[in-house]
Symmetry: C2
Subunit: 206 residues, 2 copies
């Protein structure tokens, strides 16, 4: 299991400082949608530049203009970029083509996808799918639930949405490859310790 | 009928220069998604600052984190911000609440929405709905078609997607309040003339 540290609602400098603290206990670093929309692709560039050995995920949430947006992410140094599963099929295909050209990867965010869209996405090869309870759904107090494991064996599963020590057991049942964790690490007084505790608890749940 | 000039795949400076050329024949200026994702909210700020008397639409395509993203747009000077109709209902509600607090407006982008989502959106009051054939769908050569007029009388209708002199008659049949035009104006050798021709042709179609 890998931890993807999601960095949202920070300045680029704050995000870098938090990632540096947690660095030894996380594998992937996510440049959150809010960083990209607030500061542009500079946020991706600066974070990859500071952490060249980490896998950097650009959570750009593409819904159109796929080639242009994915090229922006990959040129800025992202290893993985995200597309919404609710987007038109041509947009998902273009994201996969563009990632293939750069030798990078696509994460498909299943947030609010319909059953027929999930069935199509389950057939795609070599992607990461993200089961996602959104920030707005969390703040509403419920609304979303994580779903089942992805269908294709070549797919990796990431799980996101308010993950903390309290709900690790429920998340564990989904057998994810990637645990996307935000505030449980980024808002902790000791981000490194918080990330290590998540890993220890995860192992103990085996 | 108002023209919303959509500015995408430009630098902020290029976008400002194009808008300045077309200024006298357009009503609304759209800061395109690609400008926001490439350069951040500075793109919104700079364009509103240069055109304080124009209605500025921030095409931020919110799918989550609605309050944060809409506040970013409105604080940067946007008069209208966009949310995807395919997003969870709580996200749409939060966008409307945030816009209400700022005395600004929400444009709901219907791109790839399902019938049940369109039915819910049709009940919302005082929004602008955007019938949208996406860039990726256009480049695929078809895929999308504009739909019917919005249901609620308090809704304004905007139409987007490769609009040019060639398809004005088809667009006219939808009776839109706002015509979102990109490259037919922005890539024209004379953007002002191009915008004026669209208006003249539109009037002649009455």
């Amino acid at each position: 299991m890998k931890i993807q540290l999601a960095l949202d609602r920070f300045t680029i400098q704050e995000a870098i400082e938090i990632a540096a603290k947690a660095e030894k206990a996380i594998e992937w670093i996510e440049v959150g949608t809010s960083l990209i929309k607030e500061f542009g692709v500079k946020s991706i560039y600066d974070i990859k530049n500071r952490f060249p050995d980490k896998t950097v995920v650009a959570d750009i949430k593409t819904f159109d203009n796929a080639k242009y947006e994915f090229e922006l992410c990959f040129r800025a140094g992202a290893d993985i970029a995200t597309v919404m599963g609710a987007a038109p099929p041509v947009t998902l295909r273009t994201c996969m083509d563009t990632a293939g050209q750069f030798g990078r990867q696509v994460m498909v965010d299943l947030l609010n996808t319909q059953a027929h869209q999930q069935a199509e996405i389950a057939r795609l090869e070599n992607i990461i799918v993200c089961q996602h309870i959104s920030k707005d759904q969390q703040e509403e107090g419920g609304g979303g639930t994580w779903g089942r494991r992805a269908a294709s064996r070549s797919q990796q599963l990431a799980v996101a949405g308010g993950i903390s020590l309290e709900n690790l057991a429920a998340v564990r049942a989904l057998q994810p490859d990637v645990l996307i964790v935000g505030s449980a690490i980024s808002k902790a007084s000791d981000p490194l310790l918080a990330a290590r505790k998540i890993k220890e608890t995860w192992e103990a749940l085996k």
